[in-house]
Symmetry: C2
Subunit: 245 residues, 2 copies
DNA sequence: GTCAAGACTTTGTACTGACATATTCTCGTA
DNA sequence: TACGAGAATATGTCAGTACAAAGTCTTGAC
């Protein structure tokens, strides 16, 4: 027997009905009201119970399927998916990650200046002589050095102050200015650290660093960040979820 | 003025109309007929021209938006997105990647046996005493060692033969059996290699390896592979695209 | 008792129609 | 000239309906 999730729809709200529904169902799954493997109320019944049309309900369910929360099989019905395949929102900054995990992140700005760099400008789809804000930060977690973060930002951000970067992550600073990165290409590798990196990160010569270079774009497709990071490999690994759904 | 892409719809085909349309539009973008920034014919006009309903056209366009090929803005219209944000199909195997890039991949199977491993079984959502096929492969590219690939597969694959793995990638072997991984969690790190790894990969003690552990799932949410790989960091880096579209 | 045909359930595809809302452009007015 | 109202345009949301197709289950013939 399918579980009837309690849902309340507010038709006067500006948020679309399908999204209201999707959010509430999503919460039910996250909270454990709906367990993996549980059968889900079918589209028609759900539509009737909530006085919504089938396309609206379908769209809500589709949203959850795209996130990997639900599994639809024709003729069989809809079921709650294995928790491990749920797609989390990606593209968070290291600062936010550390904070969420209960660490105490801190930042030292090592460099902060306007530069021209043809290689970076090209990667950001800007003219080769564009003025970029180049920043280098040392990121600490619980007082211990964890990573060196090189970043180059397009001209729109040239007025970001040194102080802005000490108390928050780069992405938070960008969000405050109404820019939200939504896509990024990342290349992840490893190498032996340079002398400067060893000094900053407190590494022995034999201890490697994990490297990540990234170009991030906003929803409109404008490049908003070029990053070249290196992490203490002993203390950090990168988690990604790849899928072709 | 919007470009009219040549599209032919076959209503007798079993493939859905919206998908036929999406494919052809996608081809037009990939081939360069439609350039980034080009305005796209609007939904209504496209529907009328092709004798399709608006929802059908909309769904086709939505498919391309999800892939990052198109950009829709209400009131403004639809345009072709910056090439850099196009989402490529992810989740390919190293073997296929090397082959696509023109390399000559080869595989030496170092180990191939049935084992029990509680840690892996748990990660694969199987009972702790499940019998798994454990394989260890040395992957070479153009005769040079590149990576050591440890993999554990669920019981369904226990009959995969040593020989099957020498001429093709693991994912190709799995696909031949009707299993297609579509989601995976990956954790990427770096460390100094063990003695055995140094020997197989021809590394000096100071040269690091890039590591990747992965759990992959099929469309139904069943775990289909656990992998623990290590790569020569000098010659290999991992590219991923993260997004929250 | 076995197996196949058909009924039933549920999701998939497609169409029609209507109205809402965001954005840009034009035009008229102060 | 500057600015605001409103038209024009395009996508966004929502309803209702019909039929197709995949899977499961029941039923009946042998």
């Amino acid at each position: 027997m399918a579980i009837q999730v309690g849902v309340s729809i507010d038709r006067s709200s500006p948020v679309p009905l399908y999204h209201q529904l999707a959010e509430q169902l999503s919460t039910a799954i996250a909270s454990g009201t709906l367990q993996p493997g549980d059968p889900f109320e079918n589209e028609i019944a759900l539509a009737e119970r909530l006085n919504l049309s089938r396309p609206t309900v379908r769209r809500a369910i589709q949203e959850l399927v795209n996130q990997g929360l639900l599994l639809r099989r024709r003729g069989l019905g809809t079921t709650v998916a294995n928790r491990k395949v749920h797609r989390r929102a990606e593209l968070t900054s290291l600062y936010d990650d550390l904070k969420r995990d209960g660490g105490r992140p801190a930042t030292t700005v090592l460099r902060h200046e306007i530069v021209r760099d043809e290689r970076v400008a090209t990667a950001l789809d800007l003219p080769a002589d564009a003025e970029l804000l180049a920043i280098v930060r040392l990121r600490l977690s619980d007082e211990r050095p964890l990573a060196i973060l090189h970043n180059w930002l397009p001209p729109v951000f040239n007025d970001i102050a040194r102080e802005d970067l000490e108390g928050a992550g780069l992405y938070a600073v960008m969000r405050d200015r109404g820019v939200r990165p939504v896509v990024a290409h990342q290349t992840i590798g490893a190498r032996t650290p340079t002398a400067a990196e060893r000094r900053h990160l407190g590494l022995k010569p034999s201890e490697p660093v994990l490297t990540m270079t990234r170009v991030a774009f906003d929803a409109v497709g404008n490049a908003v960040e070029y990053g070249d990071h290196c992490y203490r490999a002993q203390d950090y690994s990168i988690e990604v979820m790849v899928d072709e759904r």
